[in-house]
Symmetry: C2
């Protein structure tokens, strides 16, 4: 019987789940709304039902090896989601324990979404065979997953790998985490939007972005403006690359990876973001690291990446 | 027969070597000048002779398990010293290969001095039993060794763990590495000296340090002045702790260690440096990490730490 893993990605709005084979093909997929009710039990009932439904519809003649879950503030050691600011659940959600009550697969594992993306890249994507690399997710926030000696870095408490919350400037932009100047406030999708507004205030060049309100502006609009040669939009990518390059150079000085992968909405901008990031990263790096570290786009298909990453946890755990 | 390891620390001025048992007792020790001649072969001959001499004088009735070497810019994978700015040797010195020509112990290993200090702390000191910790050495430079999942982080190229060369301010102080604003330019012994001179220019308070030239000022004098209540000296420790705390908070966001150990001259200042560093580190850390990470002094005796760290490489390799 063909082996598959169940991959579940718990996002702020929706939870997506699917059956994934060892080559990274998503055979069946489902989605449910992530419960807006603060009581996680209602959501976990819904999720358990959705998993059963997934198995019933797509699981015939397949052997299910386990369940992998990716979630914001997911803790690998405890199998819990802990105080996730973007989810409605209060406190600690014991996802793995609840799933174990209903399913007795040998592997039921949870980690945070960026770590799941890193493991997805390692199992199915561009990091195959790499023992030391970093995954950076540039989306609504900035997440990261660090792999050292072929193993995910979870740290003492299961929360390692928050490069998005390293500090660019202690007196910098307000961050949702309550501090100031985190990398995330500059290099996420909202971050580049903030940069555009800063540049609109500083520069006097005309720009099509001057016609758009803060509420309406999106990272995609900045991308499109830059491709049309808009000076403000181009400068916003330059500045974003400078800040990201600086902090990636710091990250290299910690774990000296073979490659850094960029994933998520902002990474879709391609060379608009890769070129300045690579240039500043090389400029800011200590000599011994120069021209060694590859800056690469994730090879996971954006639409399925979350499910793939979560499912990869199972194959990784099986060794 | 009692087992011992030979620990060798290659410093800019002297090379120290000793026979160390598994409990961390240095049974015999020697020192030779580190060759000032650019040809490493002359030095390696001297070193090989010193090792033989060490074994002849102290090695009777002892079984030698191997040789561990700590050196600036030491590369674990290659067993080489590569382009060390503080040593006179040009290019690449194949230390391990040369030692293997003369000695056939099962383990002959080299790494950089800060990594050796970390392994020393893990085998003999305060990091016994810890699987995730960071060693920071505050000396002439700032070195670091990062341990994750019980293993040293060497990275893809063997040069991981250069937290001293993460960047505090891209427009900051000139660093010996050719860049600007590295942590090392603020929190090393010369770094706090530079801070005192900056403060002497900014502040108008009287200070006994106003009577000392840059050449004559030492970290020890700043320490002594601070203990007498000198305002400039106290402010220098406060500022040093602020910068160190900021970058340690960043380091925590990478590997989430159980503890960070401080070692070296500046760490000898005790609470003068630990108190502000701890305070700022806690202030700058992401919520999920707060009040979890211990900031501790190294438990290795300063005089023997270099030999101990180097010898610990052998026990670590033996598992």
């Amino acid at each position: 019987m063909k082996k598959v893993a169940i991959g579940i990605d718990i996002g702020g709005t929706n939870t997506v789940l699917g059956l994934v084979d060892q080559e990274g093909h998503v055979l069946t997929r489902h989605a449910i709304p992530t419960e807006t009710h603060p009581d996680y039990k209602i959501y976990m009932n819904l999720l358990t039902g959705a998993i059963r439904n997934l198995i019933d519809t797509g699981g015939k003649n397949l052997e299910i090896a386990g369940i992998g879950v990716g979630a914001p503030n997911g803790n690998y050691y405890n199998g819990t989601i802990e105080f996730a600011p973007n989810l409605k659940f209060k406190g600690i959600v014991p996802v793995v324990d609840v799933l174990k009550e209903s399913f007795d697969y040998p592997f039921i594992i949870l980690t945070n979404d960026a770590n799941a993306a890193a493991i997805g890249e390692m199992i199915y994507g561009g990091a195959k065979g790499m023992r030391d690399f970093i995954m950076i997710t540039l989306g609504t926030g900035v997440g990261s997953g660090i792999v050292v000696n072929g193993e995910m870095v979870y740290g003492h408490d299961g929360f390692a790998g928050e490069i998005g919350h390293t500090i660019v400037d202690p007196n910098g932009r307000d961050c949702g985490c309550g501090r100031q100047g985190c990398l995330e406030t500059y290099t996420s999708a909202p971050g580049i939007k903030r940069t555009v507004f800063e540049l609109l205030s500083q520069m006097i060049e005309p720009s099509i972005l001057r016609e758009v309100s803060y509420e309406k502006l999106s990272a995609k609009m900045i991308d499109e403006a830059a491709r049309k040669g808009d000076v403000i939009a181009l400068e916003a990518f330059e500045y974003t690359g400078e800040i990201l390059g600086l902090k990636l150079a710091d990250a290299v000085a910690h774990t000296s990876p073979e490659a850094i992968f960029l994933f998520g909405g902002l990474a879709q901008a391609g060379e608009l973001i890769f070129e300045p990031t690579r240039r500043y990263m090389e400029e800011m790096m200590l000599n011994i690291y120069k021209n060694k570290v590859k800056l690469l786009p994730s090879e996971l298909p954006p639409g399925d990446a979350a499910i793939l990453g979560a499912s990869a946890l199972v194959w990784k755990e099986m060794g």
